[in-house]
Subunit: 389 residues, 2 copies
Amino acid sequence: MTSTPVARPDEVRRYNRSSLLRLLHVGGPCTRAALATELGLNRSTIKTLVDGLAEAGVVEERVPRPGRSAGRPSLLVLPQPQAAVVLAVDVQVEHVAIALVGLGGQILGRNRWNLHGRMGHPGEVVTHVVESTQLLATDLGVRPVAAGISVPGVTRRSDGHVHEAPNLRWSDVPLGERMAAGLGVPVTVGNDAEFGALAEHLRGAARGAADAVFVSADVGVGGGVIAQGSSLRGAGGYVGEIGHMVVRPGGRSCYCGNEGCWETEVGEAALARALEMPDDSPRGAIVAELRGLSGDPGTAWERLAGFAEWLTLGLVNVVNLLGPELVVLGDLLTALPEPVLDRVAGEVRRRSMVSRAMGGVRIEMSSLGADVKLLGAAEAAFEGVLDSV
Amino acid sequence: MTSTPVARPDEVRRYNRSSLLRLLHVGGPCTRAALATELGLNRSTIKTLVDGLAEAGVVEERVPRPGRSAGRPSLLVLPQPQAAVVLAVDVQVEHVAIALVGLGGQILGRNRWNLHGRMGHPGEVVTHVVESTQLLATDLGVRPVAAGISVPGVTRRSDGHVHEAPNLRWSDVPLGERMAAGLGVPVTVGNDAEFGALAEHLRGAARGAADAVFVSADVGVGGGVIAQGSSLRGAGGYVGEIGHMVVRPGGRSCYCGNEGCWETEVGEAALARALEMPDDSPRGAIVAELRGLSGDPGTAWERLAGFAEWLTLGLVNVVNLLGPELVVLGDLLTALPEPVLDRVAGEVRRRSMVSRAMGGVRIEMSSLGADVKLLGAAEAAFEGVLDSV
């Protein structure tokens, strides 16, 4: 049962205010007229809202750069980055990155440290994040009001409990609780691929796509799903583990207990093996090898055909199960030679009956680069913030 | 952007009225006091709503059967089945079933005809459905106000276009349009497994489960997903084709163009093969053979272990991708001997890391039997009706 839509005037005002802020935060500077059109509100309501936000220092109005059109230019409403700052944390196997992100999505400052191959113990990671955040915040003269933390593992959204993050060798870590205690702000912990999907949906290749899947491969393989405009989560707030879909029964053993998981076939180690490099080749060497193939489609296909087949097969399954209009590939997958990716995309469209029905799923590269999970973590933190700025 | 929650009093009243009707329709008879609690409305609002609905003949109030409690019994509010009747149609490979379903979900009358092995041509099916509906409606003295039609294939929800229903040998059939023209009422066409999931969610084993998957095997294998309380659909309103997830690369050829689809491994023909019966054995013979195994778990496992492994593998994938709290198995899968199903359920819980994180996915049998898709089609039709009764 959803709640009854009884709306008091102050609730309507608050709702309109946060809708307007969300629009500026995600869409960037906007004229009052465009805000009125987008939100379906009249200009006097917009004026009241914008004036109130400007007075509170949350937005400012500025004359745009002179354009070609005649007449008085419309003022642009801009979010003030310092009006609401969140902390974004991206915990990866090899490093931890933090960023302070302002209203509007701009990264105000960042820091990162390598773990030099040894896994970060949860306690150390918490201490380091808390200390680095304090330093960075002091440097920038800001104070984060919430934090989003991306973890490559199975996490419970409600309380930030990390059940299992095998590539970090973490299990049963009450990360949300510990980070909140250390940072003194509300904390949202999420799966890295879920946050990647969120970032692509709001600021990347999947902008405007209501149904999209983000698939990213580095050490592990993860996927995040946007369904009907929202993050798809399962029971208890756990998101799916797309990398542990079995695609090759009887294949390589995976730490999850199965054999032939998508992760064991298209993760970093699998890509190294496809290139006849050692399983534990450094990322840089793998990427360099892939770049070397980019000028020679024939050789690229010859060496990567097997890898491409497992990538194709998993993507066919994902498209047949979820029917997205768009799949965004991230991390290492963006380093694959273009002719290989084009061939994979063509095969997925040919072999998925759901894609055929839809007239062809789009398969695109992430446009957010290495920051995708950090940006997603920031957006997860902003979710609770925009209503109360 | 969601719409602004500006609510006029008449909108609030209409919203409350349809919430109350939905509650009675799905939950059955209810006292005014319980309605007030469930809807979070005060008793005088409930009285006004119930009196209005009773006057319009949509509900009636009745003294419940005498119970043990002392004092004056509370009146029960009951939906009047005849107040809103919908047509439900279940198109299957071997037969077509229709039912007229009243407010509250009761089947008022039904009819079905066998296709005797030959596929029903779309035109014939439309004509037959229209004529049978007229006869049945006249017999019962009712007039359906909407129709839901279940089809085993890839259908576009917006306009009821059937893109591909390979087991029926249909492709590109504008079924929604044709049925609406013949029946003269709004028509909702949907994938049979999506409708199965809807029925299980509202009236079956998945009642109260916000995240559930319904997997059903007969000639084909289909799946419907309930995510966060609603049907999961992809782009363009297409639902996923769970049966065309490849689980056995290099396996049997599937008409969809892939090899080793879940459907080729756990559909009716695969079950027949597992039992060493001919591929095209009649359903009755397969079920009889399975019943014969029910008293002998050892033999049952010996004969079905291979089949069970493919069932397990597909379920592990579904649970890892979607993280449901519950998977409901339907159709032929409910005929598997209990010890086999128990073993499959245990294996899925053991082998899916998402299930382990959640503390164990539940795997249960459909409780709605052969009517599940018919009931789902009825609920899809009711979706547009309850707001305007």
